[in-house]
Amino acid sequence: MFIIYCPYCCEYREEEEFHPKGQAHIERPKDPEACSDEEWGDYLFFRDNPRGVHHEMWVHAAGCRKFFNVTRHTVSYKILETYKMGEKPSVTAESVAATTATPESVQKEGVRA
């Protein structure tokens, strides 16, 4: 069970208070009518599933009810950053790759028995 820092409440709270809401930073097309079927389908249904740094949207459902973003490592489950809606992440897959000092050696991997 995660412990998550709510950027609005400015407190670490238990995962029980939050709901995950899927991938973050998915913008609704400005003019849906102008979208091709493929573009609209991508917006509706297609999501990234990275092994590593992932930006997710969560909501502090049993708290302040605010939506916010979580940057989480999908292998170690480590939360690298949380930030408010509308803000840009300071930790990204690229920034992590640039500083290769991240201890990947002991992170989760392999077959789950």
Binding site: F67, Y77, V106, A113
Partner: protein, 886 residues
């Protein structure tokens, strides 16, 4: 009938940590025995000469006690004198003895001594190769359920109680700076430094008393017996208010972000069901849900038995267990001992045995030139040491009667000399120690194989530390300095400054170098030799693993599944490493290439009671009641659960002394709505108060229809879709003011709709000035519906209900029964309807007043069910109020 104490002659006159002044009677498989306070069920059974505690899973072979702790594969018993107190899957080695304890073998029919399945097992052995279940029961698939029933009955995996549990359980949510798992030398030293440094510390240990291996260590610390050092440290820790000591507490699961579940057995050592204190029930066990800043794993190590022919016959034990039974429980579990070892630790058993006055036939040491202090000590005691050799086979069926010893060539994996058979009743073996890496493994970190240490050491994620046996560091001197180092790092990681502690000096012996030995070669090939057991609980043999590799199962995960290695309730604590080593030998690959399987929670079985805590019975799931709930109950309503709401379903009446069926009641209620007037408690429908200058614009964006021109005082039905075009919710929204709307939602959809509105407002349209508040609980809603509705409501309100003044899909504010109210002219029965909304705490008064006035009109309580019957065409969404004019 109490059996005379110590007929088996196995209990020593002095020594051990048992209280000889407190004898305790207990029963096992219906027979009464006596042990002492301080015993475990296992030590008491051994003292009473009970050799066979179970029958094995697949071959139904007799099995005895092998270990002293959590790794025990055989002595898994069903506990409980009464039906309600039944607990399956209890390891006798971890169960403290109490007066009146009643336990039984989980396996063996009609009993463990005379086992019908034993014959089948002997015959069946030939016919039960690895993958037996897959191969035999593959087809037809429909028959599996039939097979499974018989397999389970024969296997006996323990059973659940058939009566409700008399005990209560609870959860405790805890936070600490440093959680120390294990209170042996490493754990205690860590805890002491952390606590003195000011950190909030929780120390959990699965044993009855804190101290771990020091409880049966025959050494001194600072010139005193080790227990005295333990007592002093524990006393100091206990005196600090920021330290929590939890004996009898197993850290069973290590979850994300240093969330660890600790299972504290608070009364399991006292009685079947928790004894009362001052007439109040105590909590039987407690789950601590701990969020720790840093975690120190001082979980120690499990000794690996050697794998040799007939190594499952009762009387075969791991060497450290023999030592612990002698030192801690004053039980010598036999008369004549043979030790087979690949290291110095095996010698401890022989020395303890000899010093207890019993005979040691020989120590077979696979090393050619063993040279540690313990080896010297054994020589001084006159114990025969046979070097370069190992026990290749045990003799006997219900109890070991002899050991066949031969020179073995480990390089060529064969017996390289003549076999000598020695008479004995106990064989103690040591293949080395496996650090308890389970909790570290739960975090997802992979362990690392160390050739120099002959074991896996735990992989550690940030914030987790391991020390002592858990990190394959066994010598007290280096173990203590490692513990201090680890504690200092953990304290520093929390931003505190470590307070140094003085470490005790010790007189422990110098330990010689060990060699790697897992399976012992036999004169015959593995496939033809008598069974060499790897996993005792699941009856997995060395030959089964060899067959699996021959059949092409090369991944250890596949070997595990094919053979069932490590699949038991013990998760293969004793057998896994031996199994991997055998697979590696067969595949001619080094052990780290074969790898290890992943351990997962729980470390040892946890009772459902502890998992559930207080969340059972009426506290299992919250129930939401409307303001008129008591009235509905008094009226005999049947309820349906919608979301968490208890909503009246129908109100059966007695007709000619017989209670109506649902169908009859619904028909009667429908008729009342059609011909007279009915009343429905619609309070459960979701209500969201929407305010702000952009409220109208916002509603226009989330509903499919137009809202720009809805005037104040009017209502409109709305349909909500997601971006994929699927309808998610519907309801009526009313314009209360230019910047103020009340949205209604389906009963079950209220929370999701509110979140949906927030999502769009917070992510896509933050520029809109609008606020959402759930007011579902604040307003009670009663729908008066039927031809007589106008007459009835007009008696109680100052609002003009004239059909021209108050039209369909309009709302009015005023008073009903003297209480401020809003009335909405919305209908989903198709009949004339007035929905009266009042503040919830006035609702019962208004509801009752309506009935006082409604009797003459035939006012009938009704429920959504009849209402939907009345409006079948519009009721595609069950609880939606699709309006119909009337």
């Amino acid at each position: 009938m109490s059996q005379h104490q110590d007929t088996a002659g196995r209990r020593l006159k002095a020594g051990g940590q048992i209280d000889r002044s407190r004898p305790l009677n207990f029963t096992f498989n219906g027979k009464t025995y006596q042990g002492y306070a301080g015993d475990t069920l296992a030590s008491a059974l051994l003292a009473n000469g009970v050799d066979i505690v179970n029958r094995s899973f697949k071959y139904s072979r007799p099995r005895g006690i092998v270990t002293t702790g959590a790794a025990e594969p055989n002595a898994v018993v069903q506990l409980g004198a009464s039906e309600a107190a039944q607990v399956p899957n209890v390891r006798a080695t971890q169960q403290a003895l109490y007066a009146g304890l009643s336990a039984a073998s989980t396996n063996g029919w009609p009993n463990v001594q005379l086992d019908m399945m034993g014959m089948i097992g002997k015959l069946g052995g030939k016919f039960m190769p690895p993958g037996f279940y897959y191969k035999t029961f593959m087809a037809p698939a429909s028959m599996w359920m039939t097979y499974e029933k018989y397999i389970r009955k024969a296997a006996g995996l323990g059973r659940s109680p058939m009566e409700p549990d008399a005990d209560i359980y609870d959860h405790l949510h805890q936070h600490c700076d440093i959680l120390v798992v294990g209170a042996g030398p490493a754990g205690l030293a860590t805890a002491l430094l952390a606590a003195r440094s000011g950190a909030r510390v929780i120390v959990a240990d699965e044993q009855e008393a804190l101290g771990g291996s020091l409880l049966d260590a025959p050494y001194t610390l600072d010139g005193e017996p080790a227990e005295q050092w333990v007592a002093r440290v524990v006393e100091e820790l206990a005196s600090m208010p920021h330290v929590t000591l939890l004996p009898r507490t197993t850290a069973n699961g290590y979850h994300d972000h240093h969330f660890v579940t600790l299972h504290e057995r608070r009364t399991e050592h006292l009685a079947d069901t928790a004894p009362q204190v001052d007439g109040r029930r105590q909590v039987r066990s407690r789950m601590h849900r701990v969020r720790a800043g840093q975690v120190v794993l001082a979980t120690g190590a499990h000794e690996r038995p050697l794998v040799y022919a007939n190594n499952d016959v009762p009387g075969n034990m791991v060497a450290s267990a023999v030592t612990a039974y002698i030192h801690r429980y004053a039980v010598v579990p036999g008369k004549t001992l043979v030790v087979s070892t690949a290291n110095d630790d095996g010698y401890r058993a022989a020395i303890a045995w000899k010093q207890a006055g019993h005979a040691v036939a020989a120590i077979a040491d696979v090393r050619d030139n063993p040279d540690g202090d313990l080896v010297e000590k054994a020589r001084e005691l006159g114990i025969r040491i046979i070097t370069g050799s190992a026990v290749i086979e045990a003799k006997g069926s219900n109890r070991v009667s002899g050991a066949r010893i031969a020179k073995v060539d480990l390089q060529r994996f064969c017996v390289s000399g003549a076999v000598e058979e020695l008479a004995c009743d106990t064989i103690a073996t040591s293949g080395g120690f496996s650090p308890v890496i389970h909790l570290a493994s739960h975090t997802g970190a992979r362990p690392t194989w160390r050739d120099d240490l002959i074991c896996f050491v735990p992989g550690l994620v940030e914030g987790v530390h391991a020390c002592g046996g858990a990190n394959a560091n066994y010598a007290l001197g280096s173990l203590f300095s490692e513990a201090v180092d680890v504690a200092a790092r953990a304290v520093a990681a929390l931003g505190m400054s470590p307070e140094p502690i003085t470490l005790p000096t010790t007189d422990e012996p110098r330990i010689g170098k060990a060699v790697a030995l897992f399976q012992v070669p036999h004169e015959k090939d593995t496939l033809k030799a008598p069974k060499q057991f790897v996993d005792l609980q699941n009856d997995v043999t060395a030959s089964a693993i060899e067959i699996a590799t021959r059949e092409g199962f090369e991944s250890i995960e596949h070997v595990k599944r094919y053979t069932a290695l490590g699949f038991g309730t013990d998760q293969g604590k004793l057998g896994n490493i031996n199994g991997m080593a055998i697979a590696a030998r067969c595949l001619k690959r080094p052990i780290p290439e074969v790898g290890t399987t992943v351990f997962r929670p729980n470390y040892t079985p946890v009772t459902f009671g502890a998992i559930v805590g207080r969340h059972c019975g009426s506290l299992f799931d919250p129930e939401r009641y409307t303001a008129m709930h008591d009235w509905h109950v008094a009226r005999g309503a049947e309820f349906e659960e919608v979301g968490q709401w208890m909503r009246p379903w129908y109100y059966p009446q007695k007709v000619n002394g017989k209670l109506e069926s649902m169908h009859e009641a619904v028909q009667r209620e429908c008729l009342a709505v059609r011909e007279k007037v009915g009343i429905l408690d619609a309070s459960t429908l979701g209500k969201i108060d929407i305010q702000g200058p952009d409220a109208r614009e916002f509603i226009g964006r989330v509903y499919t229809n137009k809202w720009a021109k809805l005037p104040v005082g009017k209502c409109r039905y709305g349909l909500m879709c997601k971006d994929d075009g699927m309808v998610t919710d519907d309801g009526v929204t009313s314009c209360l003011g230019e910047n103020h709307f009340l949205m209604t939602t389906t009963t079950g959809g209220a929370a999701a709709v509110l979140e949906w509105l927030e999502l769009w407002h917070q992510t896509e349209w933050p520029e809109l000035d609008v606020y959402f508040t759930s007011v579902t609980d604040h307003w009670a809603t009663m729908t008066v519906t039927g031809p007589e509705a106008r007459k009835l409501v007009s008696e109680l309100t100052d609002i003009d209900l004239n059909r021209d003044a108050f039209k369909f899909m309009e709302w009015r504010a005023g008073k009903v029964a003297g209480v401020p109210a809003r009335i909405f002219r919305i209908s989903f029965t198709g009949e004339l309807s007035f929905e009266i909304n009042v503040q919830a705490n006035y609702a019962e008064h208004v509801w009752k007043t309506l009935f006082e006035h409604g009797e003459k009109y035939g006012l009938t309580p009704t429920a959504p069910k009849p209402c939907t019957c009345c409006a079948p065409k519009r009721a595609s969404l069950l609880s939606a109020r699709t309006p119909m004019p009337r």
